[in-house]
Symmetry: C2
Subunit: 488 residues, 2 copies
């Protein structure tokens, strides 16, 4: 069957076609199905959107990705095929019945995800299957390799490439501090971070208050060459396109099966060519994992990393509150600047940043065992780490600026003389998100007191910031209802 | 944040908005996420599509559903909110951990599906959860009620409304024959059918060779009033919108959890007001279920139907081959016409149609116990059933026409003197689909011999039909490779 092409001047980030609703119903094609479009010997898998009146039965509208992929001129014709279910679908079905997958089967799924042959829903079935049935070490290693091999590789070629990762959940940016310290010590740290998924800010969101974070490969390499490091967003580099899609589906249900978490992190570290890897695993009531889960995770990380020649160490720390004072992009990066400048504040964040930096310096033999913390402290206090940070920010097209209060704020005061008995980090993140973070860089919350500290009645406990009056009001309501801070 | 509205003259069947890609990344909004659009006190949940160059950061393009829902004029502005995860998401997460859901929780999920608040991927998680954890009788009953109550009701108000359903998988159209016979006997059968999901033709696809199948409620009621029956497509009536969406997601992986199957069927029967229900449950190697599964299914069907005042009987039949000679829309409806006209062919289809009709006549007390088959045979042989069928086809805007060979065909001949030892119905369906069914009404396969029949070398075994030369070739290749028929 031939269809007349209607070119949409619209690039959807994936090859999208729009067909007539009645034609779709008769052909048993549904929204988000995939069809194979063919023209002049070329073919392309496309995602179906369905429209009622925009398009006739004999037409097909195509996004620019399709027009480019098939070299379609105006008014040219295409034929299409309803694609038989990709092999992956049967494999996913098998995994849902808890079958152990072979290397070939895992590669089939990952390749199909990358070439758009699986719908988001099919990926959700895969995530469910892995969540319900788990994966053994061999499967996780194969998953890691498949994600790595279908992604982009940075190819820096240096034995001293090191990386750091946090499994997340606790507000507070140790990464910019660690990267600055370790780059001064001579490590190469091509740090690419994510944006916030469920928190108020990812490292990329926080850095973006000061400078750019989205670079193409050539520019990124220049930044790294100049500084031994970068603090960029990994999203547009395509280091692990399969994983990017899987994460998007996982976050819908806040699912993060252990095996997928490990494969996702290691594949990206392989892609930047890391030989050394330090993983921050916060555990505890407010973190993503319990102590026992953290220990299991650490063991698997080390075991699987070894298969790929990465020397990995996991640092398990009990984490019960935000590390700095700020929760929100600009507030969190301001805490970083405080520490780098030597202002006497944010002790928890300072301590943890030095701990992680020290461990990474020991892991890479830049410091002798037991001497990493000393070296890290020395570099931080010398001011060289701040100089390095300023240099990275400059290379990334920005400059240092401090937190400036947005239009609206609300200071919440202590209702009695008391001690801070609990700070729920998930609720603190949600509060900052309701106030507008991460899109509103200045939005968020500032903690005047930390856990177990005393406060006097009427003294400021928390300041909530927002560029929007209504969002501030919503955040204040949320604070009153959900009580992210408890006094005793 | 305010966005300028760009009206798309494009109705997507669901409220779709398109936003700028960079803006989306910074706001942590992804393709297929839902956002709440607000304008002048009205609000609407919309599905996000992302575009690169088609739209600026301060604009939002909206489909006609959004424009109408929010009464947007050209160039008006809207604000939006990233919607907090609907409550359903946590409930689905709980079900994935095998929690038994309350009535309230099930209603929450079904309502969220209907109002577009859940993405297809979230529905896939729900289907996975039900597949892995099952549902108890109470949950299935609540699911049935929720799907029924969120759907459209036909409101015919007649005590004699009966319906028939097949859980499917075996080619052969008993439905038009049963509907014609039972309507002659005085039952009201407002039969709505689906289109093909994995087979070569649904009853709606087959009927469409002769007449229209897609009617609005008023016209459908006229057709039913005139004939005591209809043979229409249920798709556009909205009898069970939640189920329509769930089925779309289930079919991706060919998952059909038992509890969902039961709820789906019963909700639609409640919607047409059926008081009597006959369910055809084919079992065996080529069917969807084993004998044991069929028995379990039958028990649950009867138990849950009772809760809703529907008298239900399940007919379990061992099914190992297509019932008629044809596989494909026009070929299958031609088998129906043969039987209604009394042509001596398609014995299996005739026998099963009479059996099912007889059982339904007994269930509804139109025939005494044990006398249903006699009555059904009498009505069929009197020619009255054919008259009824012609009348339905005429009311639905068509007329009887016989199968006409399409442009291309290939007769496959027996390679030796032999007996037909196996006919794989799944592969027969796939063969017909590859030849172009169900979109190409004439495409499909015609079986010259049935199971256990003898054939002489060189005699025709199967004829494959298609409107497309290349599709015919693909089908022939498939036949050679997959051998849907085996000779011994």
């Amino acid at each position: 069957m031939k269809l007349k092409v209607k070119l949409l001047k619209f690039s959807a980030g994936r090859p999208v076609v729009i067909i007539n609703e009645k034609f779709a119903a008769e052909s048993s094609i549904h929204i988000d199905d995939r069809i194979l479009l063919k023209s002049d010997g070329k073919s392309l898998i496309t995602v179906v959107e369905v429209a009622k009146d925009f398009i006739s039965r004999k037409e097909i509208a195509v996004s620019t990705e399709v027009a480019e992929g098939l070299d379609l001129k105006k008014k040219s014709e295409v034929t299409f095929e309803i694609i038989p279910q990709p092999k992956s679908v049967q494999i996913i079905h098998d995994k849902l019945n808890c079958k152990i997958l072979s290397k070939k089967e895992i590669f089939t799924i990952i390749k199909d995800i990358v070439r758009n042959a699986l719908t988001e829903s099919e990926i959700a079935y895969f995530v469910s299957a892995v969540y319900k049935c788990g994966m053994n070490i061999e499967e996780v290693a194969n998953m890691t390799e498949a994600i790595y091999k279908t992604g982009f590789k940075l190819n820096l070629k240096n034995k001293l490439i090191a990386d750091k990762h946090s499994i997340g959940g606790i507000p507070g940016r140790t990464t910019p501090i660690l990267v600055s310290i370790c780059a001064v010590a001579g490590l190469i740290i091509p740090k690419t971070s994510s944006r916030a998924i469920t928190t108020a800010a990812g490292t990329a969101d926080a850095m973006e208050y000061l400078c750019g974070v989205d670079f193409d490969v050539d520019n990124l390499k220049k930044i790294i060459k100049h500084n031994n490091a970068c603090l960029a967003w990994g999203g547009s580099l395509g280091l692990a396109p399969a994983d990017d899609k899987i994460i998007q589906v996982e976050k819908l249900l806040n699912l993060d099966p252990k095996s997928q978490l490990i494969a996702s992190i290691l594949a990206k570290k392989l892609a930047v060519g890391a030989h050394y890897l330090l993983i921050d695993v916060p555990y505890g009531k407010n973190a993503k994992v319990t102590k026992k889960e953290a220990e299991g995770l650490a063991k698997e990380f080390v075991k699987i990393s070894k298969k790929f020649g990465i020397k990995t160490q996991c640092i398990l720390t009990k984490s019960e509150e935000p590390l700095g004072n700020g929760v929100g992009p600009a507030l969190e990066i301001d805490d970083v600047i405080k520490i780098l400048k030597g202002e006497s504040d944010c002790h928890l964040l300072k301590k943890k940043s030095i701990l992680l930096s020290g461990k990474l310096l020991e892991l890479t033999n830049k410091a002798k065992k037991g001497k990493g913390i000393d070296l890290a402290t020395k570099i931080l206090e010398s001011g060289k780490a701040f100089e390095k940070f300023k240099s990275i920010v400059k290379s990334q097209g920005g400059k240092i600026k401090r937190f400036q209060e947005p239009k609206y704020k609300k200071i919440i005061k202590a209702s009695k003389n008391a001690k801070i008995s609990e700070i729920n980090t998930k609720k603190m993140n949600m509060l900052a998100r309701i106030a507008g973070a991460p899109l509103d860089k200045l939005a968020g919350a500032y903690l005047h007191k930390h856990l177990n500290e005393k406060i006097k009645k009427g003294n400021p406990l928390l300041t909530i910031y927002s560029e929007s009056k209504s969002e501030l009001e919503h955040a204040v309501e949320y604070f009153k209802k959900e009580k992210p801070l408890k006094l005793k």
